[in-house]
Amino acid sequence: MMDVFLDPTMLADFLATSLRLSVPIVFAALGGVLAERSGVYNIGLEGMMLAGAFGAAAGTFFTGSPFVGLVSGTLTGAMTAMILAVLAVSLGVTQIVAGIAINIFSIGITAFLSRIVFSGQANTMTLPGYKAFALPGLAAIPILGPILFHQDALVYLMYVTVPLLFLLMFRTPWGLSIRAVGENPRAADTAGISVARVRYMCVLGSGALAGLGGCYLVLAQVYLFSEHMSAGKGFIALAAIILGRWNPVGAFFACLLFGFFDALQLRLQFANPEVPYQAFIILPYAVSILALVGLVGKPTPPGAVGIPYEREGK
């Protein structure tokens, strides 16, 4: 087992796997950061990711094009987020309840629709998807090259998305509006920002990002859709958001940590075939909880997260 960490090629391989396993969590966590910064708690990330995975599989299944799958998966994630937006922003329903509703609904509807769409062959077919390719030049960098720049297109998309979201949040007037709405919606409203519009945009964007995470599962990891394939990754993303202090870059690194432990448990499974594999699957979930417990200092969520905003004087 230890030889993984001593042999440089094996280590690079291991870290590249860690990176790939963290991609879906990264996209979901970015989505969560966006929604929570605008004041909407998104427990439904898991469901949106699952819906995205289904959308990606269905789109690719019908057209044979992974790119169409990518678009349809992202849109399916955003459509699922629309439910959260309507419930939480327009109707003012408790956001946690709305999120739970989305998760349960998503598990049921994707299981049902996958029976109809793929008519029983969901677990046997193989969809076309994105394969790893070396980025010319960058891949030649020693050690880091093979880890970071011999990946598939969606990993490269992630490299772009993380800094972009950071810049959007902290360096643009839009980001200022988003954070204002999330910290103090009344003040933002007084300043002429439409709280509902900002929150709608952020929740929809959140769903699109979580949907992208789901696309990655289908189009770059397993190349098929299976029931409840998100398997709690959206919930791990929720922990990553807190660990990353509601900052896209922080959340990204927290997700890398979880990806690392996911890769580690896979290694442990192969190294110890005599131990039932479930003993190791537990690892990333347990690490998420322990990370929350061991967090130094008390994290401060955005001021208005979880509170429906209602204008006065209705």
Binding site: V93, T94, I96, F105, R115, G232, F235, I289, V293
Partner: protein, 366 residues
């Protein structure tokens, strides 16, 4: 007229279910079947036929107990999304007590197995409860993640240390038949678990409505600052309400083993912990309404199989309908009579009448 309208608002759970069934009929149609035929097969099978109804009662036992497991912490403003994991831990502890404790008279051993199950679920929920109360860690995330740990923990035990000799599939040894729960309907699988569930629902209802304990719990949920001011140990209430909720879910797991499966299987629960969330929210955490909602949801689940045989719709449509139920229930929370336009008009009308009456008194003079 107004009373009728107020009643319509009170029955919003029923409207939510009806709306879900209407949208669900679209799904059934999409699946290539006649919705009316499918629904009538479902509900006739679930409630009107002897064996179908017995199956409904079998499924009602875990759903009801899990619903109470969610409802109890909900009174204190806490979301227990971990009932599924707590069910697994309850079943694990109960099976352990059934297989490895020395032999004793049947009913005493059943009680001990039940207690073991409650302890298993309770300890599992004590962890998020403690983390919430004393470290301020979001109980939603912790309970969610602990589901996956609990489910895999049981899989680990029945694939390894507790695996029965020669088992082709991960399960434990069978428990002694002296530990099997008595049946409540002859020649069927309906077991005593559902009766215990209903009794516990009544007990909880009385506690919530009639005792200072229930009042304290509600105060913690509505206004923790006021509760602290009134001398209620808020942290302990937070921790213990989750733990006791977990104990109820643990019982659900214990009775799945003692009443139905007689062994511990890997992945034995069909998402009953999540059904518990649906019924608790549908019933707005009222234990008696949880019972009604659990009966309905159990009917959906047992009728789904009959519907699949009768008209060929995949049983997963019921899971989709369940998802629709909870979405419409969530939406219905937003609709309160007090917030409706009509209620506003009535309020204004009363205010005007009162103002006019006051004016006419003043005009008449003293």
């Amino acid at each position: 007229m107004l009373g009728l309208l107020r009643a319509a608002y009170l029955l919003k759970g029923v409207w939510a279910i009806l709306a879900a069934l209407v949208v669900g009929s679209g799904l059934i149609w999409l699946g290539g079947s006649d919705p009316i035929e499918a629904y009538s097969a479902l509900f006739k099978g679930a409630f009107l036929e002897y064996h179908g109804f017995a199956t409904t009662l079998v499924k009602m036992s875990p759903i009801l107990l899990a619903g109470l497991a969610v409802a109890l912490p909900l009174r204190a403003g806490l979301f227990n999304i971990g009932a599924e994991g707590q069910i697994y831990l309850g079943a694990l502890f109960a099976t352990w007590a059934a297989l490895y404790l020395p032999e004793m008279p049947g009913w005493i051993h059943i009680v001990i197995c039940s207690i073991a199950g409650a302890i298993g679920g309770g300890l599992w929920a004590l962890i998020p409860g403690y983390l919430k109360a004393y470290h301020g860690i979001n109980e939603v995330i912790v309970t969610l993640l602990m589901n996956y740990i609990g489910i895999n923990l049981v899989s680990y035990f029945v694939s390894g240390p507790m695996l029965a000799d020669g088992a082709p599939y991960p399960y434990s040894d069978e428990i002694r038949d002296s530990l099997w729960l008595p049946h409540i309907l002859p020649r069927s699988g309906a077991h005593f678990g559902v009766v215990i569930g209903v009794l516990l629902a009544i007990v909880l209802f009385v506690i919530f409505r009639r005792t200072s304990l229930g009042l304290s719990l509600a105060t913690v949920g509505h206004n923790p600052a006021a509760a602290r001011y009134a001398g209620i140990p808020v942290k302990r209430y937070v921790m213990m309400s989750l733990a006791f909720g977990g104990a109820l879910a643990g019982l659900a797991g214990a009775y799945e083993v003692l009443g139905l499966k007689y062994r511990l299987f890997h992945m034995f629960s069909a998402g009953y912990g999540f059904d518990g969330i649906v019924v608790a929210l549908l019933a707005e955490a009222n234990p008696l309404l949880v019972t009604v909602a659990a009966l309905f949801l159990a009917g959906l689940r047992s009728g789904a199989n009959i519907m699949q045989r009768a008209v060929g719709v995949p049983t997963t449509v019921v899971e989709a309908i369940q998802g629709l139920v909870i979405i419409f229930v969530a939406a219905s929370i937003a609709f309160r009579f007090e917030k409706s336009t009509l209620a506003g008009i009535v309020r204004r009308r009363k205010a005007i009448t009162a103002a006019l009456a006051k004016e006419s008194i003043e005009e008449r003079g003293p």
